[in-house]
Amino acid sequence: MIGKEWSLIVFSMAMQLSAGIILIYDLFLLSPLYRTRVDIPARFQWILMIALTAALVGVAFSLMHLGNPGNATRTLANLHSSWLSREIFSVLAYTLLLAVVTILHFTMPSAARSLKWMVDFTAISGIVLVFIMSRIYMIPTRPAWNSVFTPLGFYLAAIILGSSLLLIFQINHGSWASQKLLAILSFSIPLIQLAILPVFMAWLGQKDLVSGNALAIILDNHMAAFYLRLGFFILAIGFGIWAFFSIRSDTLRNHLLFTPAILAWAAILAAQIIDRYLFYAQNLPAEGF
């Protein structure tokens, strides 16, 4: 049941990672720079490169999900009514924008001011993309997916994947404030996800029979994954807090942040992958049809 969804797991996580990177980059890294009017540093170029690579990987994996990718060009034919059509459109639009912005980062590093609005625009298109991605799953035939928990989960995943990665990028360069902010996100988002989990499960359990079955499937058939996810969430929170307290205003002691930031990022990535895996495990049709 899960086997066939691996491509979707990679696709959705890669796109959300990319959108999250751009969003966090825009808010916490580029904005201060924009105010100080200096050139875009080289490491920002690499951030953009990573975001673009993630988006391209996502696009590639989305093709792997298709039984007949030869017809992929036709998928924009039904923007009128198909959320999938819209998703593919927004994936392409976002990736294109990102590619342009990335190229400009490399070719015009001094034009931070004029790049800023383009990054803003890309970040907003990323937000839209994540929403459209979640809309795909909000269908009455899949009760366990059809709720606000789906976009909530996707947005939280995007933010945490982006912020925890960028924390690493900020270790030796970023401001004390941005490090603190990113570290706070790195443990508070998993904390929120952890807090939402029992609410979501309680909601599943009481909603209807199929949702109840979806819950039962997680608890019965994917118990190991379920607990593994819990474990990684807790680890992520722990490493995030550790990272937070490792941040010193003294830049010479920046290396203290390195270990917890890397560990936090690894635990977060593991937790999110398992979370997404379990999300697809809840692919149970309404009433069993």
Binding site: L66, G67, N68, W83, T141, L209, A286, G288, F289
Partner: protein, 209 residues
């Protein structure tokens, strides 16, 4: 435009699945692909009485479901390529030249009608045996039914013969997509909700590939 429909009498369906296999034979469907599926709905409360004998309060019945060629098919709305479309006479069809094999219609259809063919990488589904309709014959599932529980005709004729009911537990409410199917409910269906009935033969009807 003529609008066709199926009639299904759940009250006498034994669940023999002859319709399912007759369809597979006509359409050369490999294992795992079923244009018509027979769902077993069952719910019960077994109770031990004061003398220790077991007394069942039980409902069990079958639902033979193909594609209902809905008026507002959610598969058509969901399809990104417009491969899934409403053809002549309201028959919902897949254009194999356009289908990208994303399986989103499979998620969207509340009846599980679109079936993924992993060999071809595209979706396939019931077409009401269009070739038979052209010859004036009924679909192969209808003429296969041992209990004469299935019928096919224009919706108008079906409604005048069998009434207009399109709902039975646990099918989604017919208002959702406007299915072209007339249903005679099994008498047990009245107690289905009370006895927490559900489809219990998932291993026989789902396509896991």
């Amino acid at each position: 435009m003529t609008k066709y429909g199926f009639y299904f009498d759940s009250s006498c369906c034994s669940g023999c699945k002859t319709c399912q296999v007759a369809c597979k034979d006509k359409n050369d469907l490999t294992e795992g692909i079923r244009f018509r599926r027979v769902y077993e709905v069952c719910g019960s409360a077994w109770e031990k009485d004061s003398k220790g004998t077991w007394v069942p309060d039980i409902v069990a019945y079958n639902l033979s479901v193909a594609c209902n060629h809905c008026e507002n098919p959610s598969c058509v709305a969901a399809c990104p390529t417009k491969a899934m479309h409403i053809g002549n006479d309201g028959i919902v069809l897949v254009d194999p030249d356009k289908c990208v094999g994303c399986r989103y219609c499979e998620w969207a259809c509340p009846y599980g009608a679109p079936q993924y063919n992993p060999q071809k990488g595209i979706m396939q589904k019931c077409d009401f045996c269009s070739d038979y309709i052209k010859e004036g014959k009924k679909p192969v599932c209808v003429t296969s039914c041992l209990m004469r529980a299935l019928d096919f005709d224009t919706l108008e004729n079906l409604e005048s013969h069998y009434g207009a009911n399109r709902d039975v537990f646990p099918l989604p409410h017919s208002g959702q997509t406007g299915p072209a199917v007339i249903i005679k409910a099994h008498p047990g269906a009245a107690k289905a909700k009370e006895l927490k009935a559900s489809i219990i033969n998932r291993e026989e009807v789902r396509n896991d590939r």
